[in-house]
Symmetry: C2
Subunit: 463 residues, 2 copies
């Protein structure tokens, strides 16, 4: 039903532009940068400076290939949703539309649905947090909260501290705002206070105060380690002394295999900025996460959220709110945890059974991930295409560092595949590793690893 | 179930910080900027420079007061969802969860659900656009697309062209990335090509090339005007000549009262960046919008989207996709339009019946808004509290300008209240205006308007 007075003959310029578009990016670039008919499309140098830091994550590039059914993907972080009570959820969401549809389908506030913000405070209480619903900002996954906090705090070249390795999505947001990431190493008990102290001190000597420490204390992504409870006040004390904010990202906290929750950093100090999510404890496809922030930060965060999306989807927020009200979400989280524990055990057994000497890995007591260090001479990024050819996928370690480290590490996810698939995947990975080691041995270029084989937690910074 | 080895006694610092938090923002600021116990919370000067431009929009400040039931709100832009077939939608969404729940509740791609991207191309065809699903990026409302396009194109102090007045949400994103907005005036036929030419020429003389022109060609928010079809190729030609990209924002395009769709700017040139949304044609609370962009822009936009939210909610995308597949969405859009036309007519009749001399307004042929110019001497922002006291709310004009203009304008929305409420609201507004004019007349400070009273389209830049 296009208007009749629309030009019947596309003009020459339109044809040219259409041809350029059809011809694809390179030709367009040419058309835009060189002569020829003027085009609306800008030459690439007209992109904002910040786009220089935006590069496709290795993980993302990986998802395409790894999603073939014959490939066992130990790469993704997808929760196992088969454990959800879909039929009762179907009835719940139908009732939401039928009885409350005009509210659920309408715009809402930029800060989020008030009732959900109260329920979020109940969820956080599980980890010792006393929060005020007025200080909760609901976001489109906690990724959005992290991105917006970076937006309101980070100027180009500001320093951000993060564990080494760190969450790839966080590194993406830090890069998008041109932050300089300084990694602090972990050991089997998580972030090492002495190393944090060293980093803070050496930055202070350069006259640099980091904008914040970004940390995942529980069941770390990708390292699998958990911050020892006695280290938690020590880390906060160091950050206070050096005037560095703390952003605590805790999507896995309730998915511990001991059934015990660790006290959140936020439970020790109300100035800690806390990020939570329903992606792992309920459903990732609803994209409901949140930030609990001090009032001083809240107002700016809400303004940033408003310009980012106007408001988070009312519908998915009300779905989560009804789920929390009408379902036994605590026992659902327990079901998820038992489910993941079983898969972790299958992975650990397979690693011990199949992996060659010189490999070492940690034993996570919650979450989704095992962090594996391979023998010297093996490059996990270079090995990845051969692994996918052998029908197993993983996330290579360099994607989790801003500084190119991690070539001897890789992340294995046990959250999504069945125990049988996990076992088969690790068997395939072991064969690929053996082949790589044959090459290393043949050309004798690399020294063998000093690490004894077997389950232990290497420092992710093991070289 | 907090861990037992959590410190039983909160330490002094925690108490101090808690007290500071309880004491509120000012005290926190003090604690953070002056001596006293070190706190994690930063002094405000540690916020990013870009936060200086983030201020609460007048519209947002307004929603709180205007949401009282006794107040007739002519301020908001909420679609009238009562017209939706809620019972069949309830069955649809229940089936989505019951039969496809593990996909609908799971993470998806950052670019959006493939089937929905194909259906979006069908929707755009209604306005003469031939798009490729591979060039569609689904976002959390088109607000997110606009925010991310600003992120990838705008460096601080870059110039962005926008109509005067312009959409308040766009001005918010431009401010968040420190763009300089240059307004170009409209008349009753929308953006004026000669004035755009003048603006481009004077910027060129300063050696400035704007990054893009942001324009809402159809049923403009807030001005209600529609860009004349013969002006469309003229505007594109000017932008090509000066090397300025065009971002076309078209949330209302299918909501015309003539039943006729206008050809999108994108239908003349595939390099135009097009923004669309289901917020007005289906349901705003699902927050499903999109951008159609050239491949050169697409890859960066997808990377930016990934760092912003990882992916848009799979669930709401699949809801929209099923709605488009299984419901007669075209006749639903027609129902919405007839509904809004009836409300527009009620508003126009009330304006003619009640408004005092010296007021003038436009006659929108689609969309949600009437733009009203009041007599000289009346300040619409200053009048707003008195209007709300008189139980009617509107959006004052200055919120729609980056340069403080608009004190004699205001936006009236006819989308949400019933025709009866609209009539009553305009009656109340007229009484408030009469009272303001009494003051003006008594103190005789301001000259009377030169404009004849009645329906006509004043240039929003009428002084």
């Amino acid at each position: 039903m296009a208007s009749p007075d629309r030009p019947q003959q596309p003009d020459a310029r339109r044809t040219a532009a259409a041809a350029a578009a059809a011809a694809g990016e390179d030709q367009q670039l040419e058309a835009a940068t060189q002569g020829g008919p003027p085009a609306l499309l800008p030459p690439t140098e007209r992109f904002a400076a910040r786009t220089a830091g935006m590069t496709a994550s290795e993980i993302r590039a990986l998802f395409a290939v790894a999603s073939r059914p014959e490939v066992v993907s130990l790469a993704g972080g997808m929760p196992n949703l088969a454990a959800l009570p879909l039929q009762s959820l179907a009835a719940e969401v139908a009732d939401l539309v039928g009885t409350d549809g005009t509210a659920a389908l309408q715009y809402g506030s930029a800060q989020g649905v008030p009732q959900l913000r109260e329920q979020i405070c109940d969820v956080m209480r599980e980890e010792g947090i006393e929060g005020d619903p007025n200080d909760v900002v609901v976001t489109v996954g906690s990724q959005m909260a992290l991105d917006l906090l970076t937006r309101i705090f980070v100027d180009p070249d500001d320093v951000v501290l993060a564990e080494g390795p760190s969450y790839v999505g966080a590194l993406g947001s830090f890069a998008a705002y041109q932050a300089r990431v300084v990694h602090v190493a972990m050991d089997e008990h998580g972030l090492v206070p002495d190393l944090l102290h060293e980093a803070l001190e050496s930055l202070a000597r350069q006259g640099t105060t980091p904008k914040f420490l970004y940390t995942i204390p529980n069941f770390h992504n990708p390292a699998g380690a958990t911050l020892a409870v006695q280290r938690r006040p020590q880390i906060l004390e160091l950050c206070r002394r050096y005037g560095v904010m703390v952003i605590e990202d805790n999507p896995y906290g309730l998915l511990g295999f001991s059934g015990e929750a660790y006290p959140a950093l936020r439970s020790y100090d109300p100035d800690v900025i806390y990020l939570g999510s329903f992606s792992k404890t309920f459903a990732s496809g609803l994209r409901v996460g949140w930030a609990l922030v001090p009032p001083l930060v809240r107002d700016r965060l809400v303004l940033a959220a408003e310009s980012a999306t106007l408001c988070p989807p009312t519908f998915t927020q009300m779905m989560v709110s009804r789920y929390l009200s009408h379902h036994d979400w605590r026992s659902q989280v327990k079901t998820f945890s038992e489910n993941y524990r079983e898969r972790r055990d299958a992975m650990l057994t397979a690693l011990e059974t199949y992996l060659p000497e010189g490999c070492s890995w940690n034993v996570p007591d919650g979450g989704f991930f095992v962090w594996l260090t391979v023998p010297e001479g093996v490059d996990t990024k270079a090995m990845l295409p051969r692994a996918v050819t052998a029908r197993v996928a993983y996330a290579s370690g360099t994607g989790f560092y801003a500084d190119g480290f991690g070539s001897r590490q890789l992340r294995l996810s046990f959250c999504f595949p069945t125990p049988e698939r996990i076992t088969e995947g690790v068997r395939r990975l072991a064969a690929v590793l053996e082949a790589e080691l044959d090459v290393v041995r043949t050309f004798g270029t690399a020294a063998r690893s000093e690490l004894p084989r077997g389950p232990q937690t290497p420092s992710p910074d093991t070289t």
